[in-house]
Amino acid sequence: MATSVGGLYGEKAGGPMLDFSYVGIDAILEQMRRKAMKQGFELNIMVVGQSGLGKSTLMNTLFKSKVSRKSVLATAQEKIPKTVEIKSISHDIEEKGVRMKLTVIDTPGFGDQINNENCWQPIMKFINDQYEAYLQEEININRKKRIPDSRVHCCIYFIPPTGHCLRPLDVEFMRRLSKVVNIVPVIAKADTLTLEERDFFKKKIREELRANGIDVYPQKEFDEDAEDRMINEKIREMIPFAVVGSDQEYQVNGRRLLGRKTKWGTIEVENIAHCEFAYLRDLLIRTHMQNIKDITSSIHYEMYRVRRLNENNTMVAHANGIPEHHLTAHEM
């Protein structure tokens, strides 16, 4: 239990009244922490990108264990499916007493066909289905104590390292999906780009995102205060992160590190001079994970809910010939 001897400041109308006896209000932080540890956390990450960009490897590197679907299933060589499929796999992981249920959602077949029009549709549908499931649970009369959260918290989009600019497929996908889910774009297999090429590529991508009005995570419009904005601006100047994934360890300078060994050197995955994997990991896991989940539940989900409830109203109203001015915006 927290035993800091702070002062208790009561403020009402007049100025603060100092009273140096300990009440114990700050013990609630400890209580919250205990409750969170007991409940455990849930995280659902979706990876989207053409096959061969290293999505599974990156997931394994992020969570330092074989979390991707390919590692679980016996068939290492799978045929590329004819349409985009959505496959998810869940794991229980634990670190220092903190338990987490991690679900990795894979999208094989994305961008792999000759005609890729509308290949985002199955993905969009999946994301909306998760929102729908949550909504249905929420409006039940007899609700569960804790509604299972299967909503996609974060979607990592893999941009192939062409070095030039975004492709129409990338722009189209991100434009549509940034409205319903948090998108974190990354440049895959960044070890094929030199530092100058990488900077140029990133700048170009940022320009194109801006030109198309695509707001990726951390979104500008959801910055809460000046402090938030400062932190997020720094991140926004770095996206998309140029990442390299690896789940193999090599000896470098007497230490065992994750990396890729080539004839001309070993790329250390967690070295920020080599690639930006560490920034991605810090953003996603160590600093902004809660924020990502909050934005999903309080903004994306709420927007879905508003849309859904409104469209239900107008649909039924039209069917019954009730004029629209009878519907008010605030009723369910």
């Binding site: 009273d19 209000i25 330092k64 229980d92 249920k101 104590k145 804790r146």
Partner: protein, 427 residues
Amino acid sequence: MASSDVARQPDKGVRSLSLAGHVGFDSLPDQLVNKSICQGFCFNILCIGETGIGKSTLMDTLFNTNFENFESSHFEPQVKLRAQTYDLQESNVRLRLTVVNTVGFGDQMNKQESYQPVVDYIDRQFESYLQEELKIKRSLHNYHDSRVHACLYFISPSGHSLKSLDLVTMKKLDSKVNIIPVIAKADTISKSELHKFKIKIMSELVSNGVQIYQFPLDDETVAKVNTTMNGHLPFAVVGSTEEVAVGNKMVKARQYPWGVVQVENENHCDFVKLREMLICVNMEDLREQTHTRHYELYRRCKLEELGFKDTDSECKPVSLQQTYEAKRQEFLVELQKREDEMRQMFVQRVKDKEAELKEAERELQSRFEQLKRLHAEEKAALEEKKRLLDDDQSSFGKRKAAAQLLQAQSLTANGKKDKDRKNSGFM
């Protein structure tokens, strides 16, 4: 929400993995706590007790501040509730505390309806949260949660047993709020009496089926201390904001000629236990119980009352939306019908009024005609009379003229005769 331990049970397709290195998500609880610090916390306490039993003083003592309460009279006609909100801060934790006091509880001659305002208040807070939750555009994370998290019920230190008012009130409230009974002004009871009193109270509560709040035992860290505390219920408290010198320290205490009752001395009263349990150990659990048990129960009852069900008669899941829409159509149709009715009634009334007015107009018209006729008749009569009068006048005038003529004639005739005589006389 208390876990149904989703992660622990081996779900289908969920396997446990061990990590090969430090990933970093052990900072998640810290991230969560940081977010809560930014948002601030909310806590609402309801104090029920008779006037003068020491509710305000206890609140002042508990939170170490002066809440600027004023004394109430004993002559309130009805029980009222007064809620006041304060912003407190300790180190980096901001707390928005709302203290709700009952005013006039137990003062009336007839106390049958005393519990009702309290129940209504609690329900109103649930209702406004439910309304917010059902809105289309809602902002739950900004919403100022006013639901009552803890209810301190102040028992009079009679030393014998609970009053029937106490039992009735607590029974009505136990499914709506977490009740923590306390024995007020505990410095009026001796230790042995207190022990017997506590046992009597707990057995009365149990035999009447009153569910008071039990400190939770499922978390190992606090299970032990909570079990001990559960055995000390109800807490016998003494409140005081005055400081008295004891030894070389100033402590909160009440000074009597026969001694000093120290509030924070565990041998003297259970104040420290109450503060520990209410604030330091179980505040979060109180909030959670309110949300997951009491609020859910209210919500369920309210929605079922309105006619919503999860499954209809064939046990197929009925969506809330459908039922709501059906009811809404019903309501709108009813509304339309009423509107039409009213319109018809209005039209009818207008017609009636019109007819009435026409009738009146006609009547007036006929009276006018009548009067006109009368007037014409009278005028004719008067004309007639005038004519007669004129005739009379003219005939009189004639006669008068004739008479004058005659007179004049006769005068001249006489004069002539005279003249003649005169003339004849001289011959």
